[in-house]
């Protein structure tokens, strides 16, 4: 049953070194505040899962939190490369990163399999692709009815999934809307789930068929306004595209990244403090 707590309490309680951890959110509602808190608490050797690593995993990989990454598209959307991710893959900095690369269709199927308590996903995919050659987890299975050969891949079952949502009520029931990605599946597939939210409300007032995650499938709910920035929260704030562009310059060199990390994450107490530092540094650096 969901318990309202601070994000630092939730990360301390559920995210331990060496666990398999997924922070999901497909461009929208990316749980940046939670990623920052994991960096701040100095977690190491995490087996990270996320379809689109985005800036948040670039930051976590560069900060040395990750031992491995399961993913399907690793770029800075509309800008180019994730430089910290590339540095880890190409040069093993700050630590070697084992990659388990899959496709979007596969990983979204694997999330569904995880949520459905099945050991593997089955899909029409990977035929002819070299991804099969470099990822031994991508295998084939024969349909017992037609004999057709299909791709089979392991379900995603993280120790902890973390998502960001728009609203939660006092009991910890969560409502999210807009682009939903795989967040519902991520929560249902994990042993433990942490949800950060924009707003705590008296009642969700959710229409039928809305994406509501009941309090009893969630462990911790944390109030973190702005917690998906620089991604966006539909109905609350827009995507900070300027930061995505700035990140390309910040992250390109190890030194500028480390300075940014020290000033914005390691020296700040929480996400509100980070936003305060970010806003003051934004005024100093021309866009």
């Amino acid at each position: 049953m969901a318990i309202w707590m601070s994000l630092s309490e939730a990360v301390a309680a559920f995210v331990q070194d060496g666990l398999c951890v997924a922070l999901e959110g497909f461009t929208h509602l990316i749980p940046f505040a939670a990623g920052h808190e994991i960096i701040r608490q100095g977690r190491r050797d995490l087996a990270l899962v996320r379809m689109t690593p985005d800036l948040i995993y670039d930051q976590m990989i560069g900060a040395g939190c990750a031992a491995s990454l399961t993913f399907s598209w690793g770029g800075n959307p509309g800008i180019g490369s994730l430089h910290r991710f590339r540095d880890a893959v190409e040069h093993g900095w700050p630590a070697p990163l084992a990659i388990r690369e899959r496709s979007h269709s596969d990983l979204s199927n694997a999330w569904v399999a995880g949520a459905a308590n099945l050991p593997f996903a089955v899909l029409r995919g990977y035929t002819g692709s070299d991804l099969r050659r470099v990822n031994p987890q991508i295998r084939t299975i024969q349909c017992p009815f037609t004999g057709e050969e299909l791709a089979a891949t392991p379900a995603v079952r993280p120790d902890v999934s973390i998502i960001h949502a728009q609203k939660a009520d006092a009991r910890g029931n969560v409502l999210l809307w807009g682009i939903l990605g795989v967040q519902k599946e991520a929560v249902l597939a994990a042993k433990h789930a942490i949800v950060t939210v924009e707003e705590r409300v008296v009642a969700l007032d959710a229409p039928p068929n809305a994406c509501v995650l009941p309090a009893w499938v969630i462990d911790a709910v944390c109030l973190v306004p702005g917690g998906a920035a620089p991604s966006y929260a539909h109905g609350y704030y827009t995507r900070d595209n300027a930061f995505y562009r700035r990140w390309d310059r910040i992250s390109r060199r190890r030194e500028t990244f480390q300075t940014w990390l020290r000033e914005h994450i390691l020296s700040t107490s929480d996400f509100a403090d980070y936003l305060r530092v970010l806003n003051s540094s934004r005024q100093e650096i021309p866009q």
Partner: protein, 262 residues
């Protein structure tokens, strides 16, 4: 009347937009494919249905999305479904007519690489990866590819085959059990290529205005062939240019950049 001035990039986007037929259900990749698909929607194909992998179906963004999950896509779509649903029900379910994709490398059989340049374990350049492309390329009824043409991108041998075209040519794609029809056209900044109906090797079917065959040969990593009836691409019309530039202007005003860099 003087011919309108335009860039090779504009010619590529406009030629790509023209290949998308009105009414098609199109699964769109971010970047150049999204620009071309939206230009088609704003010109000759108002009834095209754009599907983005983040979940919007029937998106009509007023500006180009910078990321695959921009709010403009969700706000203007007929419906927004979850990402698993997009891939399972809509793509694998057989509802996508056209997949519209880009690539870092392409070979003579229109197989594409979006994963690495160099060796996979020790890459020279680590690219973003497959995303939705590997299953779009295998499951869409037809695939359009938009790729800038250089010797580095049009290669004899891919460093990594991320998403299938016609594999080793002939009927190899069909024999592998792939359901979708495969690439029907490749649009570059120099020319338009289509697969030969028998051997499935790409042939240049149309040169963009003013470009020589030598220019194409110089920018292709294999001995590229030209169709017997190879012609010249019609130059961009004033209206096409105006609508494309207006789209970029609106996008720049909101995002601060043009939205088709990736």
């Amino acid at each position: 009347m003087n011919a309108a001035r335009y860039t090779s990039e504009e010619m590529m986007t406009i030629a790509a937009a023209r290949t998308l037929r009105n009414g098609a259900v199109c699964f769109v990749g971010i970047g150049l494919p999204s620009t071309a698909a939206n230009l088609a929607r704003l010109t000759h194909a108002p009834d095209v249905v754009l599907i983005y992998e983040s979940g919007p179906i029937g998106a009509r963004p007023p500006i180009l999305p910078l990321s695959i999950g921009d709010s403009h896509l969700a706000e203007t779509a007929d419906t927004v479904v979850s990402t698993p649903e997009v891939f399972r029900y809509w793509l694998q379910g057989g509802h996508v007519d056209v997949g519209f994709l880009g690539a870092a490398q392409i070979d003579r059989f229109a197989n594409i690489n979006t994963t690495v340049i160099g060796d996979y374990a020790h890459p020279k350049v680590r690219l973003p990866g497959a995303g939705g492309a590997s299953e779009i390329s295998s499951n869409a009824k037809e695939v359009l590819l938009i790729v800038r043409q250089t010797r580095q991108s049009f290669v004899e041998k891919l460093d990594f085959l991320t998403s299938v075209g016609f594999l080793t040519g002939g009927d190899s794609r069909q024999r592998a059990g792939l359901r979708g029809g495969g690439p029907s056209a490749v649009i570059s900044d120099l020319c338009i290529l289509r697969p030969d109906p028998i051997d499935r090797e790409l042939r240049v079917v149309s040169l963009h205005p003013g470009l020589s065959r030598e220019r194409i040969l110089d920018n292709t990593g294999w001995r590229i062939r030209f169709a017997d009836d190879c012609c010249e691409t019609a130059p961009p019309s004033g209206m096409e240019l105006e609508i494309l530039r207006d789209l970029h202007r609106r996008t720049r005003a909101v995002h601060g950049c043009v939205g088709d860099i990736a």
